[in-house]
Every structure is written in structure tokens, then in C-alpha cells.
Amino acid sequence: MIAYTARRLGLSALVALGVVVLTFVIARLVPGDPAAGWAGPRASPEERARVREELGLDRPTHEQIIDYVGGVLRGDWGISVRTHRPVLDDLLSLLPNTLQLVLAGLLIGLLVGVPAGLLAARWHNRLPDVLVRSAAIVGASMPVFWLALLLQTFFAGQLRLLPVAGSWDADMLAQYPLAKVTGLPLVDALVTGNWPMLASVFDHLLLPALVVSAYPVAVIARLVRASVLDTLGETHIQMVRSLGFAERAVLGRFAVRLSWNPVLQLCALIFGYSLVNSFLVEAVFNYPGLGRYAANSATVLDVPAIVGVTLLVALLYIAANLIVDLVHAALDPRIRLR
């Protein structure tokens, strides 16, 4: 198990390094002058030359990459050309919001997707199955920004039940300041018993989380349905049936168990997909996460920030997969030998 973990960690580090180098080179190949962005739209040529030297932009690309990788290892992810703040500080202040959104989407995905998949398998080829399958196709294929606009216009714009955008009410923050425990606003408000803030964060999170959950709900429902249907024909299920267990127990207790592994693996994939998918959702709901930051950085060619976001997303993705693989390996010894 230790050897397996070590091997996986080593491979992950290699992937991360590859991501850094690739992003760095691509960002450098795009024509442009980040120094001009730093110095401002009306800066003089001398000012820009000074900034270029200060930021090390006048040095060859390979030296810059080596410097950057060294810095990343020391926790120095460079200074953002746009915000003039350390990139890592920027990212860490926004990451909890994005994580909260993605995890909420994943949670809804499991809470709705697994039962929906079971329902479809139980009434295979009947109305519930048709409904679940149709909804899954819509959920998986509808562009998120479109779904986001629809929900925003309907629930916030027309019905005015939920806020249009943002992550909490600004008025609220002064009155009920949010203590930092885990960094996830929803969890922090909950554990500190800050009920008004909890309500505000929840209201603001609901619509974006529902939009982000559309894809997880759809794919989880389809996977659970397919895997349960697959299992139902197997001999051990027929055995269980012949022992006189109710159909509910056959499905809910025995058949579904075999789908946990694929669902777990799917969750890691969904996590990575949702991270990037949430970028568009964040834009529509003006949700202060990594996505908004990435978009703003890209428009001004803020190389340290772009590379930083890419690296962070890659690391999260790698970490999610690593965790799933390790859990998997711990549960199923066959994996370790592969």
C-alpha cells in the first residue's frame, strides 16, 4: 500500500510540473506585454521598461519557469499583474467559495442522482424510467450558463424569491460578521451558530448550486441505473430474490452496493469537471470564486494569475483522483497490484 501511494504521488507531481510548464509557455506565446497591464493604460515607456525588469519579464522563458517552479515550492506563486497582490493569497481567499459551490453541487448530485437512478431501475422502461432518462439527457446537455440565466431570471428576476447574485448580503456582514473556521462560509456560519448569515449564504448559494448540480445529478442517475440493471441479472441477486427479500431491499440494499465503486470514481471526475464548469456559473451569479478571478485575469493576460489558477485546479483534480484511487485500493486489494 505504501509503495502504491508513493508511486501515485510521484506520478501526480510529474503531472503538476507538466501543467505548470505548459501553461507558462502558452501564456508566454500569446503576444502581449503584461508589464503594460501592471503599469496602467497611460504609463510612459520608461515606466513600463522599469516594471518589465522588476517583474523579471526581460529574462529568457526557461529561467522564468525555473524561478517560478522554485517559488511555487516555497509557497510563492508570484504577484498578480492585475491585483498587485500575491497570487496564492488571491487564490486561497477565493477557493473556499468555489469549493463550497462544487461540493454543494456534488452533494445535490448524490442526494438526487442515486435515488433517481434506483427509481429508474426499479420501474425499468416504465414512466419513472422514461422521466429520469429524459431529465438526465436535458441535465447533462443543457449549457450551464443558459440554465443559470433561466433560473436567475425566473426565481430571482420574476418571482424575487432568491437574490440575483453574490455570495451574501453586504448589510449582513457588518451586523453578523462571519468567523473563519473552515473557510467555507456555509459551514462556518453553521458551526458558529450565525443563523442570519447562514440564511443569507444559503439563499445566495442555492441557485448556483442547483445549476452546478445539473450535470452530477444526470450522470450519477444514469450510472446508478445502468449499474443496478446490470447487477440485477447476476446470480447472487437472483439468490437474494429467491430468499424472499422484498424488491426494495433487493435494489436498495444488495444491488446498489455494487455501484458504489463506479459512483465513487465518477465523483472524482465530476469534481474536476464541476470545478471548471462552475466558472461560467460564477460569472452569471457574480459569485466570488476562482472562475470570476480566472476570467478577469485572462482578459488582461495576467500570467502569474492564469498559471496559478490552472495549477490550483490541476492540483485539486489530481488530489481528488488520488484520494479516490487510494480509497479504492484500500477497499479492493486487486487495484494495488495493477
Binding site: P31, P34, A36, L118, R160, L161, A165, G166, A226, G233
Partner: protein, 535 residues
């Protein structure tokens, strides 16, 4: 994923766990909705909410501030004087009176009494002197405006005297939107960050960089204007880059003012309850800067031909209210503006004549290829560029248009060493840093040793001479300055280094829940929140 079509035994209909789970999640959704109730309520809570599409504060030092934070700074920091663009005159602010000597080289300002900085310190002539001297010394942003000042004297607590090395309109300079703030100086420049050292009606309550609720201001109890009557208690600057989201926030009543919304979103909002769509002139104009160092536009006749080939009315119509006719280089509300200049008008026949004279035109059989660049992300510029393409095609000019980021595309290309590598036409906006029209001439039309903002690469020594004189003339004889500016504009129109495509109109959605909003083009996108009366 595979599906399996093996038949399933139908079981008894029972409430399964799955149904329960779905019901639970639906209940969760419903409860979330019920606890809401969003809308107009938030708008009347004593907080004025300003929506901006870009992050607000990048520079906290009032000496160096030269960017978007302008939208917030005048609510925290005040200047000696303020320019009223409607009346075209300078009004008192921290100075109650001022006078200049007849040679325009000595200016004396009398300070308002009973003013304190947010630090508690009183506003004295010494403090004013210290602030302006620091701004000059830092030399950042628009500090160049104070260039003519050679020394500042403080004969008594309430009097500040400026000695100038050359005559200059110091009352206009002290009204500038940048670099003219009077502030208390903290121990370290880092202290400016997230705090206010001004004398204005509001101070910083909280600042969270990168957050959507970036900046909150709250009223300064000791403000010299007092808090009698109706005023907003707080100001919230909310960063909303997505235009459709900003529009939703305006219609749902969660915000009071949207800095910028595209026309296609503004139109449907017209006539909505609780909203007003305002339109006001700005001091920003759209130029097509022509490369005077590269064939064929190095030929004056070709430039003039292009200026006659553009159908300006069509551009203005297509902009759907975002642009209005330009009267010249200097927009309305500024010294030097004139509506009697001999502009080049749309005249395709004249354009063809000029092109034929220069050896081009429809009969030459040769198609002129011109590259046009502009900064991406602005709907109006994109519309103008596309229309110009079809308009110029009529006189046998093929326009290749390219939308690029300013910092990394448009500007670097415009500064290429070899004129052949630069664009032929560059669309860009210009606006002044203080209520003086010299900015256009100094920055855009004066000969440059090294390319900066004169992206026509235009050089006319006679004009340069006038530019160098006009500042001093403005200080002592505004009427003479007016006719000089008119002449300077005529020179620019004759030489045609730029296409005067139109003046920008500010189109805004504002809430009708308050009164007293005045668009002041001298302070673009600024809402002086203290002057508003919440309903």
C-alpha cells in the same frame, strides 16, 4: 455506461427510499426559496449601492490614484475646488474663495473653516501644502498637472498661496479628478490601503479585495457639511462584471446605480417601475487615429478622403445612443468647445476625388488595404469598426479590422519601431484628467519623441507651439484661450490625423428611489452620494 434491458419483476408499489430522498431534496429547495423575499426592500436601507463592472480600487494612495477607484474616491477625498460642467464654472469645496494675480502666476486660496480629516486632524494651510507637495514629489499618475507650481506658501492657517513658474489656470487644476485630493499624510504609504485620510462625507467601513462587495463606506460624523436632512448613511460598491446580472440587480431593486450597461439591456428596462434610464454627455470621445507615417495614410489627401468617406450619422444611429455627433476635438462643457468648426462631413464624391488625386480610388483598379485595430470588449467600438468597413468599401478601401486587448495587443502594435509594422487606423477613446482641454493636445496631438499616446504619430510644429502657449493664456485670458483652442482644432481638422467619430454619451440605469443625481463629465462615473436625497 451500459444499459441492460433484462426484464425486471414488477414489485409492489411502495414508498421507496428513493422517493423519500427526492421529496426531502425538494423540501430543501422549497425552504430555501421561502426564506428569501428579495427585492426593493434592500434598496431603502440607507445604503446606496453602486454597481461597477470592473474591480474598484487598485491604488489606495490618493497621490498616485489614476484608475477605476475614481468612482469611490471623491466620496472620501475632497479637492480645493470642484468643476461644475453644467454651468462651466469652478465651485468652492475645501476652498471658499480664490483669486489670481493679473499675470496668472500667483494664486491664493482661502480654506473653509471647521473642516477635519478622517484622522481627526484639522484642515490647515500647512496640511494642504504638505499634501500637494507630497503628490508632486511622488510624481505618480496625474501629478504632472501641478507642473507649473514652483512653491507653496502658508501666510496664515486658512490661506494657501501658490507661486507658479508660468501662468496656469490653477483653479481648474485644483478641481482635477486625479492628483488633486487633499489628504492627511500617514506614517507610511502602506497605511493608505483600505483606509481613508480625506475630508469627505464618507470613510471606509470595509474593503475586501476581489470580493463582490468590494468596498463599503460609512458616513463621517464630523463632516463639515453636517448630516441634517436626508442623506445615505452608507455606500456599497459592488463588482458585477456580467452585464446581464447587473441588469437583473437593477430591475429587482437590489442596486441604485449601474455604471455601465450595454444598450440591448438598457432598452427593455425603459419604462420599468422604479427605474430611470438617463443619458448625459461625457468628455470622452472616440477617435480613429490614422498612421501618418505609413503609406497610404501618410498622404494628407488620403486621410482627408477617409474622413469624407465615413458616414458619421450612420455610426451615431447604429450606436443606439452611446455616441453623439462630435463638434470638434473638444466636447461640450469645456473651454474651447465650439459648434462652428468646419468639420469634414460625409461626402463620398469628395472622397473619391481626393483618392483619385492621390492615385487611388475606384478608377485606379487598385484596392487600398488598411488595417484597423481597436480594444476588444466594447460593443460601440465594435459596431463602429464593422460599419466603417462597409462604408469604406464603397470607395474601394478594404478595411481589415482586428479586436485586441489594449495592453497586450493594440498598444504594443501601435508602438512598433517600424511604422510599417503598425496599424493604419486605431480606434481609441480620450478624456482629460482635469477640466481643461489641453490634455487632448498635449497627449494626443503634440509631437512625441517616443511613442506614447500620439498614435497617429502626428507632428505639426506650428500646432506644438500653440499647445505650449495655450496653458498660460488660459490662466490670464480665457477668451483668448477660447479662440486659440478653436484655431488648434481647425488645424487638426485640416491635417486630418484623426477621424472624429463621435462623443460618448453616458447611458445609465439608475433607481428612481432617490433624487439629486447630476451627471458631471468632469468626474466620470462618480456619484457624489452625499448630494443625493433618498426618497
Amino acid at each position: 455506461m451500459t444499459t441492460n434491458d433484462r426484464p425486471l419483476k414488477p414489485g409492489p408499489l411502495r414508498r421507496t427510499g428513493a422517493v423519500a430522498a427526492i421529496a426531502t431534496s425538494l423540501a430543501l429547495v422549497a425552504s430555501g426559496c421561502a426564506s428569501g423575499g428579495y427585492g426593493a426592500a434592500g434598496a431603502d436601507s440607507g445604503t446606496f449601492t453602486y454597481l461597477t463592472n470592473t474591480e474598484l480600487v487598485t491604488e489606495w494612495d490618493p497621490a498616485a490614484s489614476y484608475s477605476n477607484e475614481l468612482a469611490a474616491f471623491p466620496n472620501m477625498y475632497e479637492t480645493l475646488t470642484r468643476y461644475n460642467a453644467e454651468q462651466q464654472e469652478v465651485e468652492p469645496l475645501l476652498a471658499t474663495e480664490w483669486e489670481s494675480s493679473s499675470d496668472g502666476r500667483t494664486w491664493t486660496f482661502t480654506l473653509r473653516e471647521g473642516v477635519t480629516f478622517h484622522t481627526g486632524k484639522a484642515l490647515t494651510s500647512e496640511a494642504v501644502k504638505a499634501a500637494i507637495e507630497r503628490t508632486i514629489e511622488e510624481g505618480a499618475g496625474a501629478a504632472y498637472l501641478w507642473g507649473p507650481v514652483s512653491s507653496i506658501e502658508t501666510p496664515d492657517e486658512q490661506t494657501v498661496t501658490f507661486k507658479l513658474s508660468r501662468p496656469a489656470p490653477l483653479d481648474l487644476i485644483s478641481s482635477a479628478s486625479y492628483a488633486a485630493y487633499i489628504y492627511d499624510i500617514p506614517a507610511s504609504a502602506d497605511d493608505f490601503t483600505g483606509a481613508s485620510f480625506g475630508t469627505g462625507p464618507y470613510t471606509v467601513e470595509s474593503w475586501e479585495a476581489g470580493s463582490e462587495n468590494e468596498l463599503t463606506l460609512t458616513r463621517y460624523e464630523e463632516y463639515w457639511g453636517g448630516w441634517e436632512g436626508d442623506h445615505y448613511e452608507n455606500v456599497l460598491y459592488r463588482v458585477v462584471p456580467q452585464a446581464s446580472t447587473a441588469a437583473q440587480l437593477m430591475t429587482s431593486g437590489e442596486a441604485h446605480y449601474a455604471r455601465q450597461l450595454p444598450t440591448n439591456l438598457l432598452e427593455p428596462m425603459r419604462g420599468e417601475d422604479g427605474l430611470e434610464i438617463t443619458s448625459g454627455t461625457s468628455w470622452q470621445n472616440l477617435f480613429g487615429m490614422m498612421n501618418t507615417e505609413k503609406a497610404p495614410l501618410d498622404d494628407e489627401r488620403v486621410r482627408q478622403a477617409v474622413a469624407h468617406a465615413v458616414n458619421y450619422d450612420e455610426l451615431i444611429d447604429a450606436s443606439e445612443g452611446a455616441l453623439t455627433d462630435a463638434d470638434g476635438v473638444i466636447p461640450e462643457g469645456l473651454l474651447g468647445h465650439s459648434s462652428d468648426l468646419n468639420l469634414r462631413l460625409y461626402d463620398p464624391d469628395r472622397a473619391e476625388e481626393l483618392l483619385t488625386e492621390a492615385g487611388y480610388g475606384p478608377d485606379s483598379g487598385e484596392i487600398l488595404q488598411l488595417d484597423l485595430t481597436y480594444t476588444e470588449g466594447n460593443e460601440t467600438t465594435a459596431t463602429v469598426a464593422t460599419l466603417m468597413q462597409s462604408q469604406l468599401a464603397a470607395v474601394n478601401i478594404e478595411l481589415n479590422i482586428e479586436a485586441l486587448p489594449w495592453d497586450s495587443g493594440v498598444w504594443p502594435r501601435g508602438q512598433e519601431e517600424n511604422p510599417e509594422d503598425r496599424q493604419d487606423i486605431l480606434l481609441t477613446y480620450w478624456w482629460p484628467d482635469n477640466p481643461e482641454p489641453i490634455s487632448w493636445f498635449q497627449s494626443v496631438f503634440r509631437t512625441e519623441e517616443e511613442i506614447n499616446m500620439n498614435l497617429s504619430y502626428y507632428s505639426n510644429p506650428d500646432l506644438d507651439e500653440m499647445i505650449d502657449e495655450v496653458g498660460a493664456v488660459t490662466a490670464v485670458d480665457p477668451d483668448e484661450a477660447q479662440s486659440m483652442y478653436e484655431e488648434m482644432q481647425s488645424v487638426v481638422i485640416a491635417d486630418a490625423p484623426v477621424l472624429l467619430l463621435g462623443d460618448v454619451m453616458y447611458q445609465r440605469a439608475i433607481s428612481s428611489s432617490f433624487e439629486g443625481f447630476v451627471e458631471n463629465p468632469a468626474y466620470p462615473n462618480v456619484v457624489f452620494v452625499y448630494d443625493l436625497q433618498p426618497a
